[in-house]
Symmetry: C2
Subunit: 224 residues, 2 copies
DNA sequence: TAGATTGTTAATCGATTAACAATC
DNA sequence: TAGATTGTTAATCGATTAACAATC
């Protein structure tokens, strides 16, 4: 079950390639070389070709890649070729931002139901949806059949929600709560932590500030 | 300038250790071994010790680590020992979620100003703050002196905002827009992409679904 | 054919893991 | 002292990069 032959970083980059390809398609570009992909994505041409090689052969030597063809292939690889319903748990600030997020549609990701345990919220509208009772999640997902879930509740409730999602048949969880979830082996979790991101930046940002100060007193000409 | 001797994954884990330590402190625990850290963080004891070794010696052989002592040290390393002001650009859904995010405070991260270019929004309250004109960002940051900035605007505006943040003196950018930013060498960028996270999960989630199906028809007893 | 660009193999790099002497 | 746990070194693992024969 831990048979992930494809490196995670490769999958992450696949999503970036897809975005670049969609932009190129929008711009009416028919064909793209790995060189050009490097230009637009910041990821090296060699890396790009290597990443694709995990899944097959998609280009023509001397020519490059068909933009629309590769879009289709990557979408299939990532299972974004048909609509993926998602269960959202937590009708707070983050949930609200997610429901209103305009970029999901282009990737065929759709938040198909929202749950909360706050009886004041249950029954109220939330974007196009209505907030449902978290107690009904299994029942509701018997209809929807979602494999993906998003946890956008406070940390202290996150584990309980994870258990409910798994019980409802979800096998992939995007977790916004700052806590480590324990899940069965077949369930994948990815954590989004604003705190963590900012902490890493904080380390570097002040580092750099000192650095710049060291080389040229601030206010002098830029180093770059 | 690319002299990042400390691996990025190590910095990311530092933030996780800090969270565990804060929880332990809350619970009144005085001392923690690397073994116990492994238990609580899911990160191996060896990794934990190795990570800390980049910064010095913090434990006592035979005893472990002082919880409060290590909290203090990691906070210093990550520059979270004194308040870090942050500039937020974009008073939309995501910005709203960030301003209302309760967990920043414990890490001494504070959104010190919010900017937008929409004149309908400018001047309106936003959390405790008032939305300011993006045109004034440099001027405002001359007061605040923030090194960190958050971009929460649509993709098409993100590069322009990044340029403004850099000009205002920011050296670390957290980017929520699905686009690659070009910044000077001394500026660090971290991207948060819901799309990317969900795409990776989508790949695995359906993978796993097929897998479970393959081994035991769905509806049968759970594999784990 | 000549030029361009692929897919893949081998070499390099860097991060994780394991083991253990040092030390409380 | 005996037991526990650290910090660090060496071994392993995996991902990235470079190079090039194959091919359009």
């Amino acid at each position: 079950m831990t048979e992930t032959r494809v490196p995670i970083p490769t999958l992450e980059r696949l999503a970036i390639y897809l975005r670049v390809l969609l932009d190129a398609h929008e711009a009416g570009i028919q064909t793209l070389s790995s060189q050009e992909m490097e230009q637009h994505s910041g990821i090296s041409a060699a890396q790009f070709r290597k990443d694709l090689s995990y899944f097959g052969e998609f280009g023509k030597p001397g020519v490059g890649y068909s933009v629309s063809g590769l879009i289709h292939c990557i979408e299939r690889i990532l299972r974004l070729d048909e609509e993926q319903p998602i269960l959202l748990v937590g009708a707070g600030n983050i949930g609200s931002a997610l429901v209103g997020y305009p970029n999901f549609r282009a990737h065929r990701l759709r938040i198909a139901a929202v749950f909360d345990n706050n009886f004041v919220k249950i029954g109220r509208p939330f974007g196009d949806l209505m907030i449902e009772d978290i107690a009904r999640i299994k029942e509701v997902n018997a209809e929807i059949g979602a494999r993906l879930g998003i946890i956008a509740v406070p940390a202290h409730a996150a584990q309980e929600v994870a258990d409910l999602l798994v019980e409802a048949g979800v096998t992939g969880i995007l977790n916004f709560a700052p806590t480590i979830l324990r899940v069965p082996e077949h369930v994948h979790v990815r954590n989004v932590s604003f705190l963590q991101e900012l902490a890493v930046l904080s380390y570097h940002a002040v580092e750099e500030a000192l650095c710049v100060n060291g080389q040229a007193t601030r206010g002098g000409k830029d180093g770059v």
